[in-house]
Symmetry: C2
Subunit: 443 residues, 2 copies
C-alpha cells in the first residue's frame, strides 16, 4: 500500500536502553500509524538525558514529516522530555492552566492527594499545543518546526495507544490533508498451514497494491492474516476488504478459525454451546493444557465439565477405563488407547462429547516406530467415534502446544462437518486416518 506521509518513532527512557523492559511502544505506534496509511521510516531510543533527546529529535524531524515520541513525561527528576524539547526549540517552559486543572481534578476523583511534583506534568515548551490525556495524569503535547511536527506522548502503553488513536492520528490526517482517505483493517486467524504454504496459496492476494496490503503475522500456533485497505470513503475501503476476504475464504475455507480476535478454544466452545453439547477431556501428552486453554474463556463452565489428566497408565486404566489389554498390547500411545480415553472422558465427565490426546512429548520416550512428536487424538461424540494419529516432531513445549491445538481443531472440524485427517497411517487396530497435514510442515 503506497504511502506518502513518513514518520519517525522516538522512545525515551533509561529502562528502554538498559534492556530492563521490552519496549513494545515502538511496534504499537508503528502499527497504529501504518493502519492510517503513514509509513514509518525509522525508530530511535535514548535514555533520559536532555542533550541526547534533543539530538535524536533533530535527527528524526530532519528525516520525516511526523515524529511520534513517547516517555519521559512523568513527575520525577528523571523525566526530562519537556525540558529537552524546550531547549531544542529555544523557548522556555510554561504551565498550562487547563491541563493543570485536569490533573488536579483527576487526583480529586481518585480521592488522593496530588504531589507537588505532578504540577510539572502540566509544563510544556511555550509554543507547544497540549494533547489531553483521558486515561492518566500525563498530558502529551505537539510542536511544529519548519512545517514538520512532533508529538510527545506518555510512555504508559495503554494511555499512549488510546491518545494516538483518538487524538493524534486524526490530527495528523487533518493537518497533512490526508482526510480524503479512509483506512479499514480486518484480521483473519488461520490454523493448520505453514507460513510458506500460506504464502504460496495467497501469493497473488498478498501482492502489494496502492489501496491494499496483506500481512502474515505468525503467532505460533496460528497465523494472523491482517488486511489493510483504504479508499475515499469507509464503504469503499470495506468493499476492497470484502473482495479480498472472499478470495482468501475461497482458497482456505477450512483453515480460517475466526474473522475477529476469537481464538481456537473460544470458537470450539461456541460451536458446542450452539449445538447444546457438553465436553469432557482426557489428556495425557498435553498435561492439562487443553483444559487450561478452554477455561481462559469466561463462561466456559456452561460447556466444559472437566478433564482427566491421566499421566500415569494406572490412572488411564482406573479413572478412564482404558483396558489392560490395550495398554500392554498397543501401548498408551496408540489409536486404541486414544479411543478408550475419549470414551472414558465422556463417562467421567458425564458429557456429550469426549476428546482425548495421548502421545510422546520428548525429549525421552521416543522409539523408531513412535518417535518424539507422535500423538493420537480420540473423539467420542453422538454417532461418532474416531481417532487420528500425527507425527509432528519438535521441542517438548512445541509438541504439547500442537497436540492441544490439533485436538481442538479436530473437534472444530467435526462440528463444522469438514474433513478430518491425520499424518499417521492406520495401525491394525485403530480407526481410519488419511491425508497428510501438519502446521510447520509442508505436505
Amino acid at each position: 500500500m503506497g504511502a506518502a506521509l513518513q514518520a519517525w518513532i522516538l522512545t525515551i527512557g533509561n529502562e528502554i536502553i538498559n534492556g530492563v523492559i521490552t519496549d513494545t511502544n515502538r511496534e504499537n505506534i508503528s502499527r497504529e500509524l501504518r493502519s492510517a496509511g503513514i509509513a514509518v521510516k525509522g525508530m530511535t531510543s535514548v535514555g533520559d538525558e536532555t542533550r541526547l533527546i534533543g539530538d535524536a529529535l533533530e535527527y528524526a524531524m530532519s528525516r520525516a514529516e511526523v515524529t511520534i515520541a513517547s516517555g519521559g513525561l512523568g513527575p520525577t527528576e528523571d523525566d526530562k522530555t519537556s525540558a529537552a524539547v524546550a531547549d531544542f526549540l529555544g523557548v522556555p517552559l510554561r504551565t498550562d492552566q487547563e491541563q493543570l486543572e485536569r490533573i488536579e481534578q483527576r487526583f480529586r476523583q481518585w480521592a488522593r492527594p496530588m504531589a507537588p511534583s505532578n504540577a510539572k506534568q502540566a509544563m510544556f515548551p511555550e509554543t507547544a499545543i497540549p494533547v489531553p490525556n483521558d486515561y492518566g495524569t500525563a498530558p502529551g503535547f505537539m510542536i511544529e518546526k519548519d512545517g514538520r511536527i512532533a508529538i510527545f506522548l506518555p510512555g504508559v502503553p495503554r494511555e499512549l495507544i488510546r491518545m494516538l488513536r483518538e487524538r493524534v492520528v486524526p490530527a495528523i490526517v487533518q493537518r497533512f490533508g490526508m482526510s480524503e482517505q479512509v483506512f479499514r483493517a480486518r484480521t483473519l486467524i488461520v490454523y493448520g498451514l505453514s507460513e510458506s504454504k500460506l504464502g504460496e496459496i495467497l501469493a497473488d492476494v498478498a501482492k502489494d497494491e496502492e489501496d491494499f496490503h496483506l500481512a502474515f503475522l505468525p503467532r505460533f500456533p496460528v497465523i494472523r492474516l491482517r488486511m489493510d485497505a483504504r479508499g475515499p470513503s469507509a464503504p469503499d475501503a470495506e468493499l476492497i476488504l470484502d473482495s479480498k476476504q472472499a478470495l482468501i475464504e475461497e482458497r482456505i475455507p477450512e483453515n480460517i478459525i475466526s474473522r475477529d480476535s476469537r481464538q481456537m478454544e473460544q470458537v470450539v466452545l461456541e460451536l458446542l454451546e450452539k449445538k447444546g453439547l457438553t465436553l469432557a477431556l482426557a489428556e495425557s501428552i498435553t498435561g492439562g493444557m487443553i483444559g487450561e486453554m478452554i477455561t481462559r474463556v469466561p463462561g466456559s463452565s456452561r460447556v466444559f465439565m472437566g478433564s482427566i489428566v491421566s499421566y500415569s497408565n494406572d490412572m488411564k486404566h482406573r479413572v478412564l477405563g482404558v483396558t489392560e489389554e490395550t495398554l500392554s498390547g498397543h501401548g498408551a500411545v496408540s489409536h486404541r488407547c486414544a479411543q478408550e480415553m475419549a470414551l472414558g472422558a465422556l463417562r467421567a465427565g458425564n458429557a456429550a462429547v469426549g476428546l482425548s490426546v495421548t502421545g510422546i512429548a520428548g525429549p525421552d520416550g521416543g522409539t523408531p516406530e513412535k518417535p518424539v512428536g507422535t500423538f493420537f487424538i480420540g473423539l467420542a461424540a453422538p454417532d461418532t467415534v474416531l481417532t487420528r494419529g500425527f507425527v509432528l516432531p519438535g521441542e517438548r513445549g512445541w509438541v504439547k502446544t500442537l497436540a492441544a491445538m490439533q485436538a481442538l481443531d479436530l473437534l472444530r472440524r467435526h462440528l463444522l462437518g469438514y474433513r478430518i485427517h491425520g499424518t499417521v497411517e492406520d495401525d491394525a487396530e485403530g480407526s481410519a486416518s488419511g491425508g497428510r497435514f501438519g502446521p510447520g510442515k509442508e505436505g
Copy 2:
C-alpha cells in the same frame, strides 16, 4: 555500576519498523553489553534501505565508541547491510573465501543444496574483518573508523546473542583495554513478594555501586533478581556476588525459588523426587494449568500421576468423592471442598501427595462473601492434611496463574518445612489459616 565504554545499538529490517515483529534483539544486546560493563547510550532501527542504514550508522558511530548492529545479512535482495556499510566506508565489497567455505560446508552438513544467493552472505566491505557464525549461515563482520568500531551481526536472535557473547564482547573488551575487569552475573528467582515490597526489603543492597548492580526483573508471577559484579579477577567478582547473595538470602530465605533458571514447577518436582513422593492434582479454578506447568519439565512422569480437572460439581462429586453435603452446605469454593478434593486426587492418582485448588476466576460468579479472586488450596500428604484460603482479585488469567503458583508454592513450603499462610480467615468448617500474604499486595 560505573562504565566508561559507551555503545549504540542499531537494528535493521523492514519487519521491525513496520511493527510486524517485536524486536527483542535490542534489549538482549543491551543486557549482554551491560553485563560486560558497557553502557548503552541509544538505539536506532531502520528499514532495509541503503541510504538510511548508512545515515543511522554515521549517527551511531559519532555518538558511541562501539556500535552493535543486527539484521540485513540474509541472502535475499532485501538484505542490504553489507552494501550499505561498504558505501558508508567508500570501499567495494569483496568475497571472503574462508567464510564462503564455511557456508558451503554448513549446507553439506545439512545435506541441502546451497542456493547461489547464499554466496552473497560471504561478501563484506573490503576493509571489514569477518565474525564467524557457528550457529547459522550468515557470518557477521567488524569495521573500524576513526578509532571507533561497529560490529554487524545476523538478526536471528539465537545466533546473534551467542556470537555477541562468545566472540564480540571478548573482542571489544580486549580492543578497548577493558581486559583487567572480569564480569560475573547471577540470577535468583523470587516469588511471593511484590516488586515494591522487595525493593523496600533490599533497598540498601540495590544501591548502585562501582562494582555491583542489582536489577529487579519482574516476569509475572515471579521476579528475577539479577546481580552483576565485576572485579580484577573471576574470584574477586564471585566474592562480591557471594556476599551480596548472602545478604539477600538472609532477608528473604523462603521466597527464593531457585538460584538458577529453574522455575517453581521444576523445584517442586525435584523436592518430591528427592523424598520419593508421587503427586496427583485436583484442579478446578486453574482448569489444568498446574498439570500443564508440571508437564513442561522433562521426566515429570516419574513423579506426576495426573490431575483431575473437575470443573463441574458433578465431577467433583463422582470422580473425586467430594460429598453432596460439602457442595450444598459449604459450596465448591470452600476449605472443606478443597480438602476433600485433595484427598480425592490422592486416591484417584494413587499418589503419596494430593494437591487441590478451587475458586472463582471471574469475571462472573463472585459474591460479597466470596468475591472474584477467592480460592482455596488443599494439601493431603503423609501425616498432613491442610487447607489455605486466598483472595487475590484481578483479571481472569491473572487469578488462574496466581492460584496455580500459590498451590505449587504451598507444596514447596510444606516440603521445605516453611510457614504456610493464607489471606482468608477460617471458615467455621475449614482448617486453620493464618498470616496475610499475597504477591502484588503488600502485607
